[in-house]
Each structure stands twice: as structure tokens, then as C-alpha cells.
């Protein structure tokens, strides 16, 4: 592979995956303790691993969307409009981000989740949930 061996963009179809059989799944990253601070080097390594992981999903044309959820300024609104700082305090576990993927089955989505660098942290988890299609049936 090289930049000069690429065929023209005309005719390079994007539809090599039948969208009809695909569902969308959200992978929710949970950190056991969002207050843990890693070294800048460690953060840089995680960043690269995350970008490569997402790139690998995108290279299969299965990436839909994704983003991180920064902890700073996080607020929680409780019953009776009580507002507390951050998700921390009583609950240690925090949501750090999410990725939405296309997958034929929940098993395939789970396989994607297994590759997430988040799982290197003990106690961290990735929750896999199918996204409702909004067609009134599912």
C-alpha cells in the first residue's frame, strides 16, 4: 500500500456493509474512580491506544460517533432539584465517555468493547447497550 497505489475515488463504494442488518450499540465507559490521577506519560499512552482502538473500528466502517465526558464542572441534579458537585461522593463510579458502533449482534459489539483501553484499569467496565431505532417497534 502506498499513496500512489490508491485507486480513484470514483466507484470506491462506501456501502460494503449492508446497513439493514446492523444495529447501533453504545459502549459506555465506566471508571471505578474518576479521581485517580495518571501521569502525563500514561495519559498520552491511553490516548494513543484509544485513538488506535477507535480507528480500528472506523476502518471496518462500524464507527458511528463517540466522545469523552470531562469530569471538571460535572454536576448532578437530584430529586427535589438538589445539585451536587460531580458524580463523585457517594458514588465512586463515573462515566468517562462513550462510543457508538454499528454491529450485527450484541456479541460483535462486545468484541469491540473488549478492545477498549479503558479495561486496562482494574474495576473499570464498558457497558454495551443496543440503541433503540426510534421506529416505534424496537
Amino acid at each position: 500500500m502506498s499513496p500512489d497505489s490508491a485507486p480513484g475515488a470514483l466507484g470506491s463504494g462506501r456501502d460494503n456493509i449492508k446497513a439493514t442488518t446492523m444495529n447501533e450499540f453504545i459502549l459506555i465507559f465506566r471508571h471505578e474512580d474518576g479521581n485517580k490521577v495518571a501521569s502525563p506519560e500514561q495519559i498520552q499512552i491511553w490516548m494513543k491506544q484509544t485513538m488506535d482502538w477507535i480507528g480500528g473500528i472506523a476502518a471496518q466502517n462500524k464507527f458511528v460517533a463517540g466522545n469523552g465526558l470531562p469530569f471538571d464542572d460535572a454536576q448532578v441534579v437530584w430529586h427535589n432539584n438538589v445539585v451536587t458537585n460531580g458524580p463523585f461522593g457517594e458514588v465512586k463510579e463515573t462515566i468517562a465517555g462513550y462510543v457508538i458502533v454499528k454491529a450485527a449482534s450484541v456479541e460483535e459489539a462486545v468484541e469491540f468493547a473488549k478492545g477498549s483501553p479503558v479495561l486496562q484499569g482494574e474495576g473499570n467496565s464498558v457497558e454495551v447497550r443496543r440503541i433503540a431505532k426510534g421506529d416505534g417497534v424496537h
Partner: protein, 412 residues
């Protein structure tokens, strides 16, 4: 004297200018008349100049003739309209002078507005490219057919249908309004990108013609940069991308006209002026907060202007492909990303991902697998190269893959 060379050169540049200005003056429904008048003007030049010599200012001569022919056409057309509809009352207005403005500023404006008109969403992309080549670049039908590796009838039919569509849709030759310009510009950029690719990756053996296609795509992109409405970061990014690719023109072909793959290219043949120009426009494109696929592709192409295999280069290329694929998937980007992954993170990791790409019919997929398995599992490498060979669509690709197989068997 040099007439033989002068006229074809003039034809391309002046044909497109005259056609755009006339079409703008007449309206899109008269697009064929505009083309005909431009053609007739050149016929007149051929007849005239052969005997009388080339005038001092050939362009001015052409403009005068074109204006006269345009006036005659309009008068005849009006007369015809009047006979049909019996609207004889308009006779006073007949003396009204029809202004055909062939000044530099109006030529640029007309060509830009034509570019937007031709890239109308109602027209399929390959027809847009054909129309752009004909109307905006002054290419002959046989040249377009040659570039698309098809015959004149197919191109004629395609252009005829596209012009019909322009008439039906009553596409106005004007700058789209503020609200629409974003979407319409996107379509224009796609067409220019495809036009460039058509030249860059075409199977057509005529390398002069192919380079001309690329240069025309670059000229039209530059034209967009001349207008404040379209002088935008992503347009600059597209131009940067084209400059970087075009810098390798001379190095891509050997003496026998055979394709030379990137890794085997003599980088001293790369055009440093175009690389510098590309770098300048990529830098200019980085203003603002919009990251387009053109930015990412231009940045990847920038890294490929550095021949040396460094960790930094491949890590950057990998991350750019990671981003590009999130915005817009394409099989070729997926394959190139996996190659960059092997360079940045190692072959074993890349093999796992390459096997997951599910691009079964794609010869480049198997060529990549062959490349990755080479030195790790040569038997698998061979099997993949053979698969690639059986799927390869072009003689050049088959030769490149065969070369890899030969190297493998030499190592046995």
C-alpha cells in the same frame, strides 16, 4: 509557423472563457449555443489565420468574433421567437445592445458561477466531471472519452443528458446565496477532487492528458480562492492536497512509462516547488476551526513528501487516518490506515486488524495482507499475493503484485 501548436493551446483556455461568458449571458438553456459559438469562433480563426497570419492579439481577435457571432445568434433567436409567438410589439427593443463582457473580471466570475451551476446536485458526479472538462477546461469530446477510457458516443450521451437536466432544473448561473453556498461548495469541491483523481489514478496511458486533468483541477481550485466567498480553509486544504500529489508526477513513471510505486520512487524527482506550495496552503488552511477530510488527506500527503521512514511520520499518518475514517469511511483509507498501523505499532497488530476489514473482493486488501505476512509467515504472504493477483483489475497492478511474488520466491 507555430500555428499548429498555438491554436490547440488557445482553444482550451479561450474556449472555456468564451463559453462561460456566453452561457452566463444567454442563460443555461442556451449552453449548447454557447459551445457552438465558441467552436465556430475557432473555426473562423483556423480559416482566417492560416492565410492572413496570426493576429497580434489572438485572444482579442477571438473575443471580437465571438461577440459578433453571439449578437447574430441572439438576433436570429429573437426573430425566431417572435415569429412563433407573434410578439411583434417588441420591435423597439430590438436595437437594444446585448452586452457580451469578455473582461478578465467577468471571465473569472462567469467561470466560477458556471462551476457552481455544473456541480448542481441534480447531475450525477461523473457527468459533472465531464461537463467541467468540456465547458470549463475546454477539453474535446475525444479527449474526455480517452481520459474516462470510454468512447465518444458514451460521453456525448452523458453530456447531452446532463445538459438536458440543467435545462429542466432551470439552474441559474450565479453564486448560490449565503444559506446554500456551504452545501453547493461541498459538491464543487467533490467534483474538483474527483477530477484530480481521474487524472492522477486514471488507467489512461496518455500521461500528458492525465497531467492536464490534474492541472485543470488545480486551476479551478485556485479560481475558487480568488473569490472572497469561496476563499475558505477547506478549499486551501484541497489545493494543498493536490499540490502534494502533483509534486510526484515526474517520479511516478519510469522511462518506459511504467508506474513506479511510492517506495521505489526517486525522491530527487519530486517537485520541491509544488511541495513548498502545498505546505504553504496547508498552513493557510489551518486557520479557522473546521477540520475537513481535505485537511486530513492533505496532512497525510504532507507526511508522504518525507521519504524517510520515521516513527514520527507513521504515528502521525496513523492518527490522521484514524480521524479521517471517523469522518468518512472508504475501503482505501481503511487499507492505508492498516498499513500505517503496521509501521507505527508493528505487523502483528496490523495483521489482526487487516483480517477484520472484510474487503473480500478488493485486490489491495490481499496485497496488504501479503505485505504484512511477508517475513512473518511467507506461505500466507504468497497465498494472499496470489489472491490479489487473481483479483487485480489492471496490468500495472498485476505487475506490481507479481514483483512481490518474485521477491518472495527468491527468498525460498
Amino acid at each position: 509557423m507555430q500555428q499548429q501548436e498555438l491554436i490547440p493551446h488557445l482553444f482550451r483556455t479561450e474556449f472555456s472563457k468564451i463559453t462561460a461568458v456566453l452561457c452566463k449571458a444567454f442563460g443555461i438553456e442556451h449552453i449548447e449555443a454557447a459551445e457552438d459559438i465558441a467552436s465556430e469562433t475557432f473555426l473562423a480563426a483556423l480559416e482566417n489565420w492560416t492565410y492572413k497570419g496570426i493576429p497580434e492579439n489572438p485572444a482579442a481577435w477571438l473575443y471580437t468574433v465571438a461577440k459578433n457571432k453571439a449578437r447574430t445568434y441572439l438576433q436570429r433567436n429573437r426573430l425566431f421567437d417572435q415569429k412563433i409567438s407573434n410578439h411583434l410589439r417588441q420591435s423597439q427593443e430590438e436595437d437594444e445592445e446585448i452586452a457580451i463582457d469578455l473582461s478578465g473580471a467577468n471571465i473569472t466570475d462567469s467561470q466560477l458561477q458556471m462551476l457552481f451551476a455544473l456541480c448542481h446536485p441534480a447531475i450525477p458526479p461523473e457527468s459533472q466531471i465531464g461537463l467541467a472538462l468540456r465547458i470549463l477546461c475546454g477539453f474535446g469530446i475525444d479527449e474526455i472519452a480517452h481520459a474516462f477510457l470510454t468512447n465518444k458516443e458514451t460521453i456525448n450521451k452523458r453530456l447531452f443528458r446532463a445538459k438536458e437536466k440543467l435545462r429542466q432544473e432551470k439552474v441559474a448561473i450565479e453564486f448560490p446565496g449565503e444559506a446554500a453556498i456551504g452545501n453547493r461548495l461541498e459538491a464543487v469541491l467533490t467534483t474538483l477532487y474527483l477530477l484530480f483523481n481521474e487524472g492522477y489514478y486514471s488507467e489512461c496511458q496518455d500521461s500528458v492528458l492525465r497531467e492536464d486533468l490534474c492541472l485543470e483541477a488545480m486551476r479551478l481550485t485556485c479560481l475558487l480562492l480568488e473569490s472572497p466567498q469561496t476563499c475558505l480553509p477547506k478549499v486551501k486544504a484541497l489545493l494543498a492536497l493536490m499540490c502534494f500529489h502533483a509534486s510526484r508526477f515526474a517520479a511516478r513513471k519510469d522511462e518506459r512509462g511504467e508506474m513506479v510505486l511510492y517506495h521505489d520512487q526517486d525522491s530527487s524527482l519530486w517537485n520541491t516547488e509544488l511541495i513548498a506550495k502545498g505546505t504553504y496552503f496547508l498552513h493557510e488552511a489551518s486557520q479557522g476551526n473546521q477540520l475537513s477530510t481535505y485537511h486530513l488527506e492533505a496532512a497525510i500527503a504532507y507526511w508522504h513528501t518525507i521519504k524517510e521512514d520515521t516513527k514520527e511520520k507513521w504515528e502521525n499518518v496513523l492518527q490522521l487516518y484514524n480521524q479521517l475514517l471517523q469522518i468518512r469511511y472508504s475501503p482505501i483509507a481503511a487499507l492505508n490506515r492498516t498499513y500505517a498501523l503496521s509501521k507505527a505499532n508493528g505487523k502483528r497488530e496490523a495483521i489482526v486488524e487487516a483480517e477484520n476489514l472484510k474487503l473480500e473482493g478488493n485486490p489491495f486488501h490481499f496485497a496488504l495482507l501479503g505485505e504484512l505476512y511477508t517475513g512473518i509467515d511467507n506461505r500466507k504472504a504468497e497465498r494472499n499475493f496470489r489472491q490479489a493477483l487473481s483479483l487485480a483489475g489492471t496490468a500495472a497492478d498485476r505487475r506490481a503484485i507479481q514483483k512481490k511474488l518474485d521477491i518472495l520466491s527468491d527468498q525460498k
